[in-house]
């Protein structure tokens, strides 16, 4: 049996999709699993060792260049796309999973001949697969308040009919390395906590606890980071190297980054500072016991595609070094303070803890007493939606899928924000 997964989004999405590919492998131990990914993210291959048999690259940048750069014939991209599809079709896939859910991948999935397509695909301009109630819910509500409490990974798994195994619980971990890692910079300026504050936090952790702090960054971030941190405390490295360090770290402090999702794969304890457009209720760490601090500001979470609308970054200003240091102490077991007391003392912040249970799947638990009621409502609503959509899936499967029903797909499709 040959299975092709199509995943043409960004690095973070690929990491978030790993549990799905792991399940595919577990359910199909003898299958050849191939993954079509953007060439620029080939660095994630190591994460799928022993899971994916072959990676096939989509050179998105070159395709995009070919549509606009003057030296290219405007049909060059068309010819190369035909070559790629022809290569893929030579593999005679039995099943194609579209893990991406946007128009581009729907067209590509439709061009690949296969006995079974899971997820959306097109034929002669018509979209298929959108009659699945979970896919409808994903496309309509992901990134919106209606889907609060549904994690990207589990929603995608539901949409594709892939069962997920709950990850390991963090509580079994023991401190061994006395090492805290920080990744201060995110891909979006409005999601960043200031470097001055990270610097002050690092100084305090190293002065008042036995822990050493390692500041992690990508090579292109080095110039900025060296202005705030000494060279020997910096770890400028590839994703692969970073993952090796994360495995043994006692804590990762970061914003909404791919490194956060990577740490979740290794059950490394995470303290997330959710600023700007971060949506911890949907793309928090897919892990048990991860802590999230989110400032309570009227403008947040802000829209992902727009710059900060305020004169100064209010959400950033609202998280103090003192608060993050306090949370760090609790996670590391250096303080016995209860999270609810911590939340009470830092009332300008929402304090959340992630949970993964067999009954509810992934959930966010609010540590703030005033948000308990709202939190309970979210959980209840999630359970009702799960029951109703699962019932509809059951009926759909019982009655046979109506492949002729097509719906409109929004421009972006459903992507992790």
């Amino acid at each position: 049996m040959r299975i092709l997964g199509i995943s043409l989004l960004r690095l973070g999405d690929l990491i978030l999709q790993r549990p799905l590919v792991v399940s595919l492998r577990e359910n199909n131990p003898n299958a050849q699993i191939h993954l079509l990914i953007n060439k620029q993210f080939s660095q994630v291959e190591f994460l799928f060792e022993g899971i994916v048999d072959r990676f096939i690259y989509f050179d998105r940048d070159l395709f995009q260049q070919s549509c606009g750069e003057p030296e290219f014939n405007i049909f060059w991209g068309l010819e190369r796309l035909k070559d790629l599809i022809s290569d893929l079709n030579r593999n005679c896939y039995d099943q194609v999973y579209n893990l991406t859910h946007n128009r581009l991948t729907a067209h590509i999935a439709g061009l690949i001949r296969s006995e079974k397509h899971t997820g959306i695909y097109t034929r002669s301009g018509h979209f298929f697969g959108l009659n699945n109630p979970w896919i409808q819910f994903f496309n309509s509500y992901f990134g919106k308040p209606e889907a609060l409490g549904f994690h990207y990974t589990e929603l995608l798994a539901k949409a594709l009919g892939i069962s997920l195994k709950a990850p390991q619980r963090n509580r079994q971990r023991r401190n061994t390395s006395f090492r805290v890692m920080m990744q201060p910079l995110t891909s979006d300026r409005k999601k960043n906590w200031s470097l001055e504050k990270y610097q002050a936090l690092k100084d305090r952790i190293e002065k008042e606890t036995p822990y050493k702090v390692v500041v992690i960054g990508a090579p292109y971030e080095e110039q900025v980071l060296v202005k705030y941190f000494s060279k020997d405390s910096l770890l400028i490295c590839s994703l692969r190297e970073a993952s090796e360090h994360l495995k043994s770290a006692d804590l990762l402090i970061t914003g909404d980054t791919s490194i956060k999702h990577l740490a979740a794969l290794y059950s490394t304890p995470i303290l997330e500072l959710a600023l700007g457009s971060s949506l911890p209720w949907q793309v928090g760490a897919y892990a048990d016991d991860s802590i999230i601090l989110q400032p309570r500001v009227s403008c947040g979470p802000c829209p992902p595609s727009l710059p900060c609308s305020q004169n100064s970054q209010r959400c950033e200003e609202k998280i103090s070094v003192e608060a993050v240091y306090g949370a760090t102490q609790i996670v590391l077991g250096l303080s016995q303070m209860d999270w609810r007391l911590f939340a009470y003392k830092n009332s300008g912040l929402s304090v959340f803890r992630t949970r993964i249970t067999h009954e509810l799947g992934w959930a966010i638990e609010s540590m703030s007493i005033d948000q308990n009621e709202q939190h309970g409502e979210f959980l209840q609503r999630k359970m009702m939606i799960v029951q109703e959509l699962d019932r509809r899936i059951f009926l759909l499967n019982k009655g046979g899928a109506d492949e002729q029903r097509t719906r409109e797909l929004s421009d972006s499709g459903a992507e992790a924000p």
Partner: protein, 207 residues
């Protein structure tokens, strides 16, 4: 036919000048050509078209840096090749002199460029006073003219109806893959339906 004059630079090279415009840097054409080559994305294909021979330094730089590249050089001024052969390189395997767009469209090079979607490069200074002609050659060789789109479509077994053809002809600007996609989407033919997803996928990439 245009008048080309030559002036000798400090290194003793004859630099062609057309309507007061030198076709390369007067003082250091070799360095200028090296810079141009460095700025090009030449890893797309092992066969390319270069529009404009001009003084030829850029063609020499291309051949020196990419000896295995098959280069088709297109020029429209007969006076330039003899000087190139004399002072830069004695041979030029794939050289074409088209005095008009029609000559290009009737050529085997045009057929080959369309069939293989060959990339087309140009060193704009080499165009001199012939910018309009070179621009129309570029539009056609890169699939950006109505005629070129029609030829590409014919190779795929697709036809463009007269109404669409007329509306496209009224556009002066270079056409894009978006216009080609619109034609395919509007078409009811079986061939167009088969190709539609390829075009729509490409259109998504340029949104």
């Amino acid at each position: 036919m245009t008048n080309i004059s030559f002036t000798e630079n400090p290194e003793g090279y004859l630099i062609p000048i057309e309507s007061m415009q030198p076709l390369c840097d007067l003082v250091d054409p070799a360095s200028e050509a090296e810079k141009w080559v460095t700025a090009q994305n030449l890893n797309i294909c092992n066969e390319i078209v270069v529009l404009g021979l001009g003084a030829g330094f850029h063609v020499r730089a291309l051949r020196e840096n990419f000896p295995h590249l098959k280069i088709h050089v297109v020029e429209c001024r007969d006076q330039l090749l003899p000087i190139f052969k004399k002072q830069i390189q004695s041979d030029l395997d794939c050289y074409y002199c088209f005095h008009s767009l029609e000559e290009l469209l009737d050529s085997e090079l045009f057929e080959r460029t369309i069939a293989k979607s060959l990339p087309v490069y140009f060193f704009k200074k080499a165009w001199g006073a012939q910018e309009d002609l070179f621009y129309s050659l570029w539009k056609n060789l890169t699939g950006r003219s109505v005629y070129a789109i029609a030829r590409h479509f014919a190779n795929m077994g697709l036809e463009i109806d007269e109404k669409t053809m007329d509306s496209l002809k009224s556009s002066e600007r270079p056409l894009t893959i978006k216009e080609a996609t619109e034609i395919v989407i509007r078409s009811e033919s079986t061939k167009a339906k088969e190709q539609r997803s390829y075009f729509e996928a490409l259109r998504e990439l340029i949104k």
